[in-house]
């Protein structure tokens, strides 16, 4: 077969066919266009300011490894002036996390970035190995996911850092959009499509600079740049990709690769129709700054990336959501007290968005954030999810000890 020439430089042989537009590129042009697009996402959504300290949530997996590599490259190339730190969570899973932490330690040397590791054990007095010993393997990903969110924020606080970036990619976002549509969870749909979550009431903001990057291209970028990453499945959620929305996304991609970004964009468009929300969009489409969504639990669950959800895990999350609903009356009461508003979240969501000049409905904040009465972490409920789960765990531990 005669090899094709790169569509960009027209001199080198093409090695990559881009899923988003079928462009055939050589290795060098692919690497540079991948980096340019992340740079574009960063600048058009005003993600960083000069001198900002930014923690990269690093699991040792492909996404966060590529994120660290690209941010280091762009920071130097474009003079962002960022102070980058790797922040890793040790969930306490022997034979899995201790191995992947070795990868992160090598990355810290390779990228010349400081590394901070915070463990579930020091934060919660529980390792995931102990959690699984107590509650079994079912539903443990829910615990892990809830704990990880807080752990990243608390780790960042310890470092005096107010911005955590994570490696969520376009496939992750598309999966979450599908899941939230299937569940009819519009509030979460809008949060999950935002490039930035958390706001001035929360102490740590989060963002996803790779939200428009295909997982396929992330893997190819890592491969062609020879990046060092860890790809073993978590021993407590092996093969989370079998079945469920993740498989659907990958099958759609096989039929029509642009489907992934189409779903992400559609998710953003739908989120724009939800009252009180200003979802993220590229500045080229007319927005000038990164809109921010209230964020307590944007992307549920587990995996070092947190996006992936199997049927089993979906069931676990559903259960968790039902439990949350049981606390909803409480949540609305808290919201009234905090904001003086008499409108509950439910009521707001039933209202149809009013079209105004800008085409965006701007209502009151959809979700009212307070702080957890136990741990002080931001929460829309009196007791945050992590504290609720801990209470459960500690009860079980007490019973076992008796």
């Amino acid at each position: 077969m005669v090899s094709t020439l790169c569509a960009a430089c027209k001199t080198e042989r093409a090695y990559i066919k881009r899923p988003k537009n079928h462009a055939k590129l050589c290795k060098t042009c692919f690497i540079s266009v991948f980096e340019d697009e992340v740079h574009h996402t960063i600048t058009s959504s005003h993600l960083f300011y000069p001198g900002e300290k930014v923690a990269i949530g690093a699991s040792g997996g492909k996404d966060s490894t590529v994120l660290a590599s690209v941010l280091k490259t762009l920071n130097e190339r474009h003079g962002y002036g960022l102070d980058l730190v790797l922040l890793s969570i040790d969930e306490g899973i022997k034979g899995y996390r201790d191995d992947s932490l070795e990868t992160v330690k090598r990355n810290a040397v390779q990228y010349n970035m400081p590394l901070k590791v915070v463990s579930y054990e020091e934060l919660y007095d529980w390792t995931m190995d102990q959690v699984v010993e107590t509650i079994g393997k079912k539903g443990n990903c829910t615990y892990c996911g809830v704990f990880r969110r807080q752990a990243l924020d608390r780790g960042a606080k310890k470092l005096g850092i107010k911005h955590v970036v994570t490696g969520h990619n376009a496939d992750d976002i598309a999966e979450t959009v599908l899941m939230n549509l299937l569940r009819g969870d519009l509030a979460r749909l809008s949060r999950s499509t935002s490039i930035v979550t958390g706001d001035n009431r929360s102490e740590v903001k989060r963002s996803k600079p790779l939200k428009y990057s295909y997982e396929k291209e992330i893997v190819l970028y890592a491969y062609h740049k020879g990046l060092d990453y860890f790809s073993t499945e978590c021993i407590y959620s092996p093969e989370a990709f079998r079945g469920g929305p993740r498989s659907l996304i990958k099958q759609l991609e096989r039929v029509r690769p642009s489907a992934i970004l189409d779903i992400v964009r559609s998710g953003e468009d739908m989120a724009r129709l939800i009252p009180g929300d200003s979802p993220s969009s590229c500045a080229c489409k007319g927005q000038t700054s990164a809109p921010i969504a209230a964020d307590e639990d944007d992307i549920g669950g587990c995996g070092s990336q947190g996006g992936r959800t199997s049927d089993k895990r979906m069931a676990a999350i559903e259960k968790q959501l039902r439990e949350n609903e049981a606390h909803e009356a409480l949540e609305i009461d808290v919201a009234k007290v905090k904001s003086g508003s008499s409108v509950g979240e439910r009521d707001k969501q039933i209202d149809l968005p009013l079209r105004n000049g800008s085409g965006l409905a701007r209502g009151a904040p959809r979700q009212v954030l307070g702080t957890c009465v136990r741990c002080g972490y931001m929460s829309s409920q009196a007791i945050c999810q992590a504290c609720m789960l801990l209470e459960n765990l500690n009860k079980n531990r007490a019973q076992i000890q008796i």
Partner: protein, 110 residues
């Protein structure tokens, strides 16, 4: 007798990464002598290689982590001498001596 057992083979290397190593004896690189023609007498192509790997190289019973509905599982990338197999004709690409075929999963870990 000797003529019948002597099947022409093509020497190639097959690599697994991104978590697929676990399905193939936890090894990344395998030297494979692939029969030059498939059961129907046609030159060996990628489709034949995938089937051959499932039957001869994979010790793990979970073949659905590698192959779904007789095709490579969506989410697994195939690189032929570093080039995306979509540029090379995918399953129809005819294997050449000393080719390197890489299967890399995008599905594992984050």
């Amino acid at each position: 007798m000797s003529n019948q057992t002597e099947i022409d083979t093509i020497p190639i290397t097959v690599d697994f990464s991104g978590g697929l190593e676990m399905l193939f004896s936890n090894r990344r690189r395998h030297a494979v002598s692939l029969p030059a023609i498939d059961g129907a007498g046609k030159p060996a192509n990628i489709a034949f290689l995938i089937d051959y790997l499932c039957k001869n190289l994979m010790k793990d019973p979970r073949t659905d982590l590698f192959v779904l509905d007789n095709h490579i599982r969506p989410g697994i990338l195939v690189l032929i001498n570093d080039a995306d197999w979509e540029l090379e004709g995918e399953e129809a690409y005819e294997i050449q001596p000393r080719d390197n075929i890489l299967f890399v999963s995008t599905l594992h870990g984050g």
